[in-house]
Symmetry: C2
């Protein structure tokens, strides 16, 4: 944990971020400033700014005079996000292929091990964390800070979303995801930008189709989707 807690606002933001990504704050749930402030032992203003920071990351949405809510992606949102991700992540991975240090590749392998272990022990929190670290490493390995930021903003909502879906799903999809990540590592090892780019794009397209199928079947399950004002489960 080399995280440096520069400022308290940032500290609170990181804490809430992990809470959201791990599903402790469910998508759509309300995040009352005062409650969080007293629970975390900080002031209201501090929480407000932290929430605003999370809004900048796309993890929450603020409705004026109403409150802030954890992002809750709809089916169309998934399409929109994948459309952007499909353009940016292949580029990022291609550049990472030529600029990545060997040490970073080892870290990627460590993440993959972590994901494997998480799947074996059905520890979904751990899985999402490792998955997120995996992609973050790639995003950081290419030197373009703007590209890194765009990827973070567009993909973070996905990581906040996928968990809950996968909770109710067999582990077969996890195995598929593990295979895909192995493929990425192997592609990066070749240091061939075009190859990496192709692999990533195919993977993204595949996940989109898969996610859409998930959504459709989920929508069929409970006809009138009542995904509103879900309460958080601490």
């Amino acid at each position: 944990m080399k995280e440096k807690s520069k400022t308290k606002r940032h500290e609170v933001a990181r804490l809430l971020e992990t809470r959201i990504l791990t599903g402790q704050f469910a998508p759509g749930s309300k995040l009352p400033e005062m409650k969080l402030a007293s629970a975390l032992g900080v002031s209201q203003a501090c929480v407000r700014e932290a929430l605003q920071e999370l809004e900048g990351l796309g993890l929450v949405v603020k409705q004026p005079n109403r409150g802030t809510f954890v992002i809750n992606l709809k089916g169309e949102d998934l399409v929109y996000i994948y459309q952007v991700r499909r353009e940016l992540e292949p580029l990022a991975c291609a550049m990472a292929a030529t600029q990545m240090r060997p040490q970073r590749l080892d870290e990627l392998c460590t993440c993959l091990e972590d994901m494997r272990a998480a799947v074996a022990s059905s520890d979904y929190e751990r899985y999402v964390n490792a998955d997120y670290r995996f992609h973050s490493l790639i995003w950081k390995s290419q030197r373009n800070p703007y590209l890194e930021r765009m990827l973070k903003e567009v993909c973070l909502p996905l990581f906040a979303h996928e968990l809950l879906r996968r909770y109710s799903r067999a582990s077969t999809s996890f195995d598929l995801a593990l295979k895909q990540h192995e493929r990425i590592i192997r592609a990066l090892q070749t240091r061939n930008p075009e190859l990496v780019s192709k692999v990533i794009r195919r993977m993204i397209d595949r996940f989109l189709r898969q996610d859409q199928a998930e959504l459709i079947s989920a929508a069929m399950g409970k006809e009138t989707a009542p995904t509103e004002s879900v309460e958080s489960r601490s």
Copy 2:
């Protein structure tokens, strides 16, 4: 002016945004919270949150315990930004080509007229505003809100940057820019996504080369670039 000032924070943010985009706050200049607060007749916290919002848009950078400064792009930043823009804007324009309403096209023409008039009267503020509106309209015309947000965040720093550069430059480049924008409109009128995409990409690549040449010659001019802590000119 159909702008609805939902909240005061937003209002202040929009005001500061235009100040930055029009060059009233020069790149690199410091933005002290208290000074702005008393100048605008609002509280410190309000300004803080507005500045944080601008940080989310990439217009300012906050350095902990030091202050917030207007973004000041370096040469490498330009390359980084154009690299992302090159991927996203052709996509956005291609989608806008098929989804744009005729009314929107008329608005684009209005913007172009505005730009023309601005160049004729050497009103650079007006030019940048019209240019920004032009691109904003296109970004909004395609329906993907995530793509719109990415483009805004990655391109706004450019608009905050270009003005000062062009201040010291002959109007020939303005003529070129006008021609390019005309070309965009004509391409959009064809409603041919591939064509639009190609035109935009070529335009972006051209601007990148041009901007890089600008920067190099500028760097040659004043050997040791002293672009630090520039004071704002109210």
